[in-house]
């Protein structure tokens, strides 16, 4: 479990990073927290010619929480976002989800943006970005900076709409609208494992406390996070119907940890639980 030889670049500023990434192209890999990439290298499942280590790039470790939402820079570690009161106040779903990501030691190194770019189908953060309809900001020498919305960003398991020349410089999680509650529920085999199935829910109430909008995103039961609008069912007060709708939309598979039928069942249970909790929070908001 030692990686094959690879070239190594450690740029100090964004412009140089983009130039390095462009120079190595398809043959390169960006190294952020390394919590997914290093195991892949050691197991020789990935063998990039060059690793571009962005850990020394100035200005990427940003975390800004404003009225619009939370913007997380490419080098901002998961643990920092998890602990940020400002971020939690603007968008509580981030902290709710981050607590379920791996273990503290991994969150100390792993980045939020790295998790989004890595796009593990069972990861929590892609589901969060998807249910909030956030975006990822990409930059490259050729195309400059542009924002890609979540629904276009996740294209398949471990696949995103970023080219080999792109650096993801930040991600944006929109702020919680008024009278809105969120929740993240999942079942994992052991504490900190990737979820067998997970559901992020966002529920917005009207001023009269009727339901305005309810959306969920599911993790671990499809190639990408699956976002389902359940406003109609939840609005009618029928969470079981909402769960049914969601169960019909997902594409779970068997693996060594759980069967597809169990995952489908779980998504129903988790949808009901997440909607219930998000609704309660929305009502309290």
């Amino acid at each position: 479990m030692k990686p094959p030889p690879f070239g190594y670049r450690a740029p100090r500023e964004v412009g140089q990073a983009l130039a390095d990434i462009a120079a190595v192209g398809e043959d390169g890999k960006v190294l952020a927290g390394g919590q997914s990439l290093i195991p892949l290298l050691n197991m020789r499942l990935a063998a990039p010619g060059t690793v571009v280590d962005i850990n020394r790039v100035a200005g990427l470790d940003t975390l800004t929480a404003g009225p619009d939402g939370v913007r997380v820079g490419a080098l901002t570690r998961q643990a920092r976002v998890e602990r940020s009161e400002e971020a939690a106040a603007v968008q509580p779903l981030l902290r709710q989800a981050l607590r379920l990501v791996a273990h503290p030691a991994i969150r100390n190194r792993g980045t939020v943006v790295g998790s989004l770019v890595h796009a593990d189908p069972a990861a929590e953060l892609p589901a969060v970005l998807a249910v909030l309809d956030g975006s990822v900001r990409l930059a490259s020498v050729a195309d400059g900076e542009r924002d890609v919305p979540a629904r276009e960003f996740f294209t398949g398991p471990l696949e995103v709409a970023a080219g080999p020349d792109d650096l993801a410089v930040s991600a944006f999680f929109p702020a919680l609208p008024p009278r809105t509650g969120t929740a993240f529920h999942e079942v994992s085999r052991r504490h900190g494992d990737f979820a067998l199935a997970g559901v992020a829910a966002v529920v917005t109430m009207r001023a009269d406390l009727g339901l305005e909008e309810a959306r969920v995103a599911c993790a671990g039961v499809g190639p990408v996070p699956i976002v389902v609008d359940v406003t109609a069912e939840a609005g009618a007060g029928d969470r079981a119907a909402a769960a049914h709708t969601v169960r019909e939309r997902i594409e779970p598979e068997d693996d060594v940890h759980a069967g597809a039928a169990y995952r489908r069942h779980l998504i129903g249970v988790l949808t009901e639980r997440a909607l219930a909790e998000a609704s309660r929070r929305a009502a309290d908001a």
């Binding site: 030692k2 195991p39 052991r190 060594v256 940890h257 759980a258 069967g259 169990y262 988790l270």
Partner: protein
């Protein structure tokens, strides 16, 4: 005597070193050594047509590549079958490097030696092996039903077949007893594969001294003496020219008892051929596919019983999945067959097993070594009987327990050491009383009702076991008191974190009357003690502990003799306390043990002031006697061996309360209780630590760990991401109570404690989940996904 040490919860003396990074594990040694890596088969079954190493030759830093063809005959031949048995008609072992055929994914095909491990792995990746895949057989039943032959010369894949019959007291065989019993049940049980997963993998470092023509080998092993003899034999070296040292070992759990591993032969051989230090440290992926697994069994049970649940006849047929090879013989199914009986007196017993080859990693003992399967079988049987008769599960057990007055109790079988299965001591009814009290068995109905009122589902389970521990043939202890008053204890068996440095020091300090901090302990170093067996079968405290105590007694006797002369007193009047020998009742008359050590070694030369006391003019002695009396040896030291007559039988009972989530089918252990009897406790804290670790491992086997082979023989979860060892977060607080029924067989009255914790856990959890769910649980491990499926099936049946 010095402050009482035997029986005290003395803190582990090895911990400061191990916890602050000062341990010396295999890979900490030999920083300048060349590194070895292996090309391993990606196929479960294939013929090797050709190996082309040419691609690797350009790697800068490559030192050597070896395939089977390159090995001298002695090195190339199949590894030893360590424990032959008459029933093992078709025992087969692997060669260090495959010759022509590979029989499981991970089997070594070529060895690469390079300047470092990175380069060695690069070279491995460039070696092209042309395989002709053959149909593998993975499922044990398919293998037994005449699936593809794992070994061409073993048709039917059956390595061993053994039937053992213990008729009733009146001589009626089990099957007949079952036929005539008032009630009978028949069912099938399954246990899946798991594996020992020490945090440190295997590893070996070899240093050939060209001038001295001697070999020093460090191995992360559970038996350095075994490795030494095996290497000397393989490499044709005189035994005195080979020394093997087990450094700090980061866990073993059985896998490091197997020897010699291919790497333990090849790395020393390469070191000799190359004249360079060579090291191999196993990585986790290798450990999954190239070491050992255990536990996989299918069990077919028939039982006959009376209205009180007394077992009149029990007939068990085991299909034991042995993987591709049988280097450790059939110890595991023998242990299952014999230890299945547990604390019970069974009317008549018949057990039959077939050890079956499959194209998977070989099976050798893993902590518990066949007992978890046997206990699963027996305890599930007890629960079924209780359910059938609508009796309390503990009442059925009570009806079958061996009574305290019945010891020594002869189960009339042959145990894994070839000796009769005779239980030496125990008090099983008391154990049952204690566990019921500890877990609150009799008040559980109220707890369940309260939980149900909150919409929660809970269940309770119990499991009982007896464990033969401390098997022979022997261990030795060597104790030396030096003239600085320090006590150096060594024993040949090895340590993998059990706390030997602490408990052996407790024994020695107590026996000799010296402060604990003057005692140091060395294990597993053949330079210090060449005769040993190894650390397995919960035997270290029993066998080495006894040997060390006996060695200390010799030393003490000699010390008292010398002191008596010096103090002109009767040895019978002397006491040793705090390293000082005194004449009882006369406070002035005393001599330090250190001084006795000096006097015990008459010297010609004074190399320091202390030594001067022992020189010829300082201590002239009796002119009519030689300085060393006939039959005596210089120095204050003693060596003793302890060879047990038979195993000593520890026992215990566990109980647990679990909660199952009605919606998600998640299983949570709310409480876990253990009553444990390992005879006299040397250090209750260390025993509890062993129990905690064992229970944790048992929880792994019950709820998390499985080897997910697909039908092609590929292990789909060969990493810690997917092979789910429980974290601390998955392990409940463990409540323990001790019962001490001393063993009459050894000088300390102790029994083994190393494996105990793991043994009944799967049975306990199965019983508790069954109780919570009202669904029969007949296989382990059990995941939420499995429980969900069982619920669905049960709902369809309703």
């Amino acid at each position: 005597m010095t402050a009482k040490l035997f029986g005290e919860p003395v803190g582990r003396r090895e911990d400061p070193r191990l916890l602050t990074g000062r341990g010396r594990y295999l890979d900490d040694l030999g920083s300048g050594a060349l590194a070895a890596a292996f090309v391993r088969s990606p196929h479960a079954h294939a013929r090797i047509r050709d190996i082309d190493v040419s691609g690797a030759l350009d790697i800068e830093g490559l030192v050597a590549v070896y395939t089977f063809e390159d090995l001298p005959p002695r090195v190339a031949e199949p590894l030893p079958l360590l424990i032959p048995h008459p029933a093992l008609a078709h025992g087969r072992t692997a060669r260090p490097l495959a010759k022509g055929v590979v029989r499981h994914v991970g089997e070594p095909v070529a060895m690469v030696v390079a300047h470092d491990r990175y380069l060695a792995e690069d070279a491995c990746a460039l070696i092209r092996v042309d395989y002709e895949p053959r149909e593998p057989v993975v499922d044990v039943e398919k293998a037994a039903e005449g699936g593809p032959a794992v070994h061409a010369d073993v048709p039917g894949n059956v390595a061993a077949h053994l039937v053992q019959e213990v008729p009733s007291a009146a001589g009626v065989p089990a099957r007949q007893m079952i036929e005539s019993a008032p009630y009978t049940l028949a069912f099938r049980l399954d246990i899946e594969r798991s594996a020992p997963m020490p945090l440190e993998g295997r590893g070996v470092l070899a240093r050939w001294d060209l001038d001295d023509r001697s070999l020093r080998v460090y191995s992360s092993t559970q038996t350095s003496t075994g490795v030494r003899m095996a290497i000397a034999a393989r490499l044709g070296l005189p035994l005195p020219s080979v020394e093997v040292i087990a450094p700090d070992v980061g866990g073993g759990f059985g896998v490091k008892l197997v020897h010699p591993w291919p790497e333990e032969v090849l790395v020393p051989w390469a070191a000799m051929v190359l004249g360079r230090e060579v090291k191999w440290a196993e990585d986790r992926r290798e450990h999954f596919v190239a070491s050992s697994h255990e536990r996989g069994q299918a069990q077919f049970v028939r039982v006959g019983f009376d209205g009180e649940g007394r077992v009149l006849g029990l007939d068990v047929t085991l299909l034991h999945d042995h993987g591709a090879y049988t280097p450790y013989g059939i110890i595991v199914p023998i242990v299952t067959s014999t230890q299945l009986l547990g604390p019970y007196r069974i009317g008549a017993y018949r057990v039959e097993f077939s050890s079956v080859y499959t194209n998977t990693v070989q099976v050798t003992p893993y902590r518990g070594a066949g007992r978890p399967q046997g206990v699963f079988c027996m305890e599930r049987t007890m629960d079924r009987i209780a359910a059938y008769l609508d009796l309390d599960r503990t009442a059925v057990r009570a009806a079958n327990l061996i009574q305290p007055g019945e010891f020594p109790y002869d189960q009339r079988m042959t145990f894994q050491d070839g000796r009769p299965l005779i239980y030496d001591s125990g008090d099983y009814p008391e154990s049952l009383r204690m566990i019921k009290e500890l877990i609150g068995w009799d008040s559980f109905a109220e707890f369940r009702a309260a939980a149900a009122a909150d919409g929660r589902r809970v269940g309770i389970g119990i499991g009982c076991y007896v464990e033969g521990t401390g098997v022979g043939p022997y261990e030795g202890g060597h104790v030396q008191v030096t003239s600085d008053g320090r006590v150096h204890v060594s024993t040949g068996l090895t340590s993998q974190g059990q706390g030997h440095e602490t408990v052996f020091a407790q024994i020695a300090a107590g026996e000799l009357g010296v402060p604990l901090d003057r005692v140091s302990v060395v294990t597993g170093d053949t330079r210090r003690l060449g005769y040993a067996t190894g650390t397995f079968a919960s035997r270290a405290a029993v066998v080495s502990g006894s040997a060390i105590a006996l060695a200390c007694r010799k030393v003490r006797e000699k010390a008292l003799r010398i002191a008596a002369e010096a103090l002109e007193a009767d040895p019978a009047d002397l006491v040793v306390e705090d390293g000082v020998i005194r004449v009882a009742g006369s406070p002035g008359a005393a001599i330090e043990l250190a001084t006795v050590a000096t006097l015990a070694n008459p010297l010609r030369y004074a190399f320091d002031a202390e030594a001067a006391r022992a020189t010829q003019f300082a201590a002239p002695g009796d002119p009519d006697r030689p300085p060393i009396a006939e039959g005596e040896e210089p120095g204050l030291e003693g060596r003793a061996y302890y060879s047990p007559l038979r195993s000593t039988f520890a026992s215990g009972m566990h109980a647990a309360i679990v909660e199952t989530d009605p919606d998600t089918a998640e299983i949570k252990i709310l409480r876990y209780a253990v009553v444990h009897d390992c005879g006299r406790l040397i250090n209750p804290m260390i025993v509890e630590g062993q129990i905690h670790g064992g229970v944790a491992q048992g929880v792994g086997g019950a709820l998390y760990e499985r080897m997910a082979y697909d039908s092609h023989g590929q292990l789909r979860n060969a990493s810690f991401m997917d092979f789910l060892m429980p974290y601390a977060t998955e392990i409940p607080h463990i409540e323990t109570a001790h019962l001490e029924t001393p063993s009459p067989l050894n000088p300390l009255g102790v029994k083994g404690a190393g494996e105990a914790g793991v043994i009944p856990v799967a049975a306990v959890i199965a019983g508790a989940v069954e109780d919570a769910e009202g669904i029969v649980i007949d296989r382990m491990p059990l995941s939420p996904s499995d429980l969900f499926r069982l619920r669905e099936e049960a709902a369809r049946r309703r």
